[in-house]
């Protein structure tokens, strides 16, 4: 039997094989490590946010007994009625032994200053309460809240904590009588900002963000897509379009605060639009996201195979029909991806909004595009800057709300993309 002839190439291939596989293994390990590291950091981030923020979702209430005296409380002059007095009277009746002025002040301190508004609202909504004796849960002061959540250390000397020994005693009595409870903090999700941590809520900023992003989306998506389609499909390729292309790429890299200054100068000073409003904020963010959307849209238009364009033109579709019927549907998923990246940027943007006054302290929930408002990241910034201990948890909770907002937005985009995706 004769020996089959040796193939010299296969020897060379075999020699190099080990090295090739080693390189592949190395790359795989590198990739896996990178992903693992990223996951670790992500986990750390979520852990730190959730662990410091979850407490803000609970709130402490104190039960008081109030009598809405028909002589004092009438439907007509509710606003002028003495609700704070009502609370004081209730506290006095619970702790008759407290007599000195200073002690009384300390006692009243346990109840949130917002409690009288709560009572007023309740009576307003339910006039039948007038003339009744009622047991009502009202919000406790933020220091009480902190104490019950373990953020104030009882064992430290009295001078080093914000709750005195006497107040501790009263609270213990209340707790013993079952007049203190912690429940889910609905107010956090329904009210606007406040100087009092126990009253401050995220809803105002959420609405602000919503209105601002609505303006941003409804302007930047159509304008961005139209600009991309024009540049990619209709514009002649010459020096001018090259210059425009370069400048769009430059704009995408401009620091966002510059857009804020531009917005301040153009929209507020020149056009006289109201400051601190979602309208102006949305316009500024539109300027900021437009380049991102245009660049992403152009890339996804470029990736539509030319054979589809030829097919459409070949049977006599006009250019507009070719774009609208064939190119756009294929490019839309990519455009949506670009848009969602731009919107996520816009959602997290703070600096340019500071320049147009959206950093103002705003208590009311905005109900439109021209109501003064703030947005979630600015609210986080404001709370992170506040001295009260209770705002620490609020800050983290607000970050969670911001992230939830982001997830919702992304989920909507994914759903939309699924809807428009065309199977080949």
């Amino acid at each position: 039997m004769d020996q089959p002839e040796k193939n010299p190439t296969i020897d060379k291939v075999n020699r190099g094989l080990k090295r090739r596989y080693r390189a592949e293994r190395r790359f795989r390990i590198l990739g896996a490590t990178a992903i693992l590291t990223a996951l670790c950091f992500l986990f750390l981030l979520f852990f730190s946010i959730v662990s410091s923020g979850y407490k803000a979702f609970e709130k402490t209430f104190i039960q008081i007994e109030v009598f809405f005296d028909p002589a004092e409380f009438t439907n007509e002059n509710l606003a002028a009625a003495n609700f704070p007095g009502l609370i004081k009277a209730s506290m006095n009746s619970m702790f008759p032994e407290v007599t000195s002025r200073k002690d009384k002040k300390d006692l009243y301190y346990l109840i949130s200053p917002g409690a009288s508004f709560q009572l007023m609202k309740q009576v307003k909504n339910n006039p039948a309460l007038i003339g009744q004796k009622e047991l009502i849960w009202v919000a406790a002061n933020d220091d009480v809240d902190m104490l019950l959540k373990g953020n104030i250390d009882r064992t430290r000397p009295e001078s080093e904590r914000r709750i005195s020994d006497k107040q501790l005693g009263w609270l213990d009595t209340l707790a013993h009588d079952g007049k203190i409870k912690k429940t889910f903090n609905t107010a956090f999700f329904t009210s606007g900002d406040s100087r009092e941590p126990e009253l401050a809520g995220i809803w105002g900023a959420t609405c602000g963000s919503f209105y601002t992003l609505l303006i941003t989306l409804s302007l930047s998506f159509p304008i961005g897509v139209a600009a991309a389609v024009y540049l990619e499909e209709f514009a002649p390729k010459n020096r001018w379009t090259d210059i425009i292309e370069v400048n769009i790429n430059n704009l995408a890299a401009v620091p966002s605060i510059v857009y804020g200054l531009l917005g301040l100068a153009v929209f507020i000073n020149f056009f006289g639009m109201p400051r601190s409003t979602p309208l102006v904020g949305g316009l500024v963010l539109t300027l900021m996201t437009l380049p991102i959307i245009i660049i992403a849209s152009r890339a996804s238009l470029k990736s539509v195979p030319p054979s589809i364009r030829e097919a459409a033109l070949g049977i006599g579709a006009s250019k507009m029909q070719m774009v609208a019927h064939h190119v756009l549907p294929l490019a839309l998923p990519g455009m949506l991806t670009g848009t969602i990246i731009g919107m996520a940027h816009a959602l997290g943007e703070t600096a340019p909004l500071l320049m147009v006054g959206m950093v103002a302290f705003i208590v009311d929930i905005p109900h439109g595009f021209t109501d003064p408002a703030t947005v979630l990241p600015v609210q986080i910034y404001l709370w992170a800057d506040s001295p009260e201990r209770a705002f620490v948890a609020k800050t983290s909770a607000a970050i969670m709300v911001l992230l939830a907002f982001l997830f919702l937005m992304n989920a909507a985009a994914v759903l939309l993309r699924k809807r428009f995706e065309i199977k080949w």
Binding site: I308, A311, G314, I315, W424
Partner: protein, 280 residues
């Protein structure tokens, strides 16, 4: 041949190189399309050099020649698809039924409805089979109602020999068909708008012999109503389907004549080299 035709057929047009003059019979009587002194440039590069040819009514004319000689480029002049290529410039006089198609005022939309095109690579839209065929009639407003549209789609698919294979799956995506079926779908799409001329750029290059035979049968049938210009690399195919054959070489139109004559008795040395396999 009558005397007049004789004269017409013996006309040789002036060309830059003496040895690259078009020989044979590029002109016919009562042509569908006429092309005179057509030059095409890609930027500074000349891809088609002074081509003169007529396309007759109800004929299949095959364009052959080595790769890169400009067959596709010339084909694309006939319905102005070259407009879509950046930097491509066409000069000369091209007429469809006497109408100058490269005139500035000519609208390419109706022109492309009259001169349809089938591309080398099947390119169905990523839509349903029905929508693929119905798209042309829809945008041109050829159907008054759904029933008419259904009828056009059915007729086109039948003509393209695809109806029996797809009649139960008209709503499925056209991209899910096999390569040969896709190409026939593209043909159905092109004939759905009832063009006068159909340009086919190597329609069978990706198909097996059975699908090829089907498309050749189809071409023979379509010839009853349309003029067909077909680019092909297969000389057997050219011999089977066409009445006339045009041979291109490096941008020049070398020889045009009746297909059997060109293949049995080429007059130009380059043509002979090509069809005998000495070149390309």
């Amino acid at each position: 041949m009558s005397g007049k035709e004789e004269i017409l057929s013996e006309v040789t047009t002036k060309a830059l190189h003496k040895e690259r003059e078009t020989v044979g019979s590029p002109f016919v009587e009562n042509p569908r399309m006429t092309c005179r002194e057509v030059n095409v440039y890609y930027g500074d590069k000349k891809a088609i050099n002074n081509v003169n040819i007529d396309i007759a009514r109800n004929e299949v004319i095959a364009m052959i020649g080595p790769s890169g000689c400009g067959k596709s480029t010339f084909l694309r002049c006939l319905n102005r698809m070259n407009d879509t290529i950046e930097g491509c410039r066409v000069t000369g006089d091209l007429r469809l039924d006497g109408m100058d198609i490269h005139d500035k005022n000519v609208d390419v939309v109706p022109l492309r409805a009259r001169v349809g095109m089938v591309f080398q690579k099947p390119n169905p839209f990523p839509k349903s089979i029905f929508d693929n065929v119905a798209y042309g009639p829809k945008i041109h407003g050829l159907a008054q109602n759904k029933a008419e549209l259904d009828e056009i789609v059915e007729r086109s698919l039948k003509k393209a020999g695809l109806w029996d294979e797809v009649k139960d799956r008209l709503t499925q995506p056209g991209t899910g068909l096999s390569g040969g079926q896709q190409q026939r779908l593209c043909i159905a799409r092109a004939i759905a708008v009832s063009p006068e001329v159909i340009l086919m750029d190597e329609p069978c290059s990706a198909l097996d012999p059975i699908a090829t035979a089907r498309i050749e049968e189809l071409i023979a049938e379509l010839r009853q109503h349309y003029s067909i210009v077909i680019v092909t690399h297969s000389m057997q195919q050219a011999a089977r389907v066409s009445q006339r054959t045009a041979y291109f070489h490096l941008g020049d139109l070398i020889e045009v004549g009746m297909t059997d004559r060109v293949f049995t008795n080429p007059r130009h040395q380059l043509t002979e080299d090509y069809i005998t396999g000495r070149f390309g």
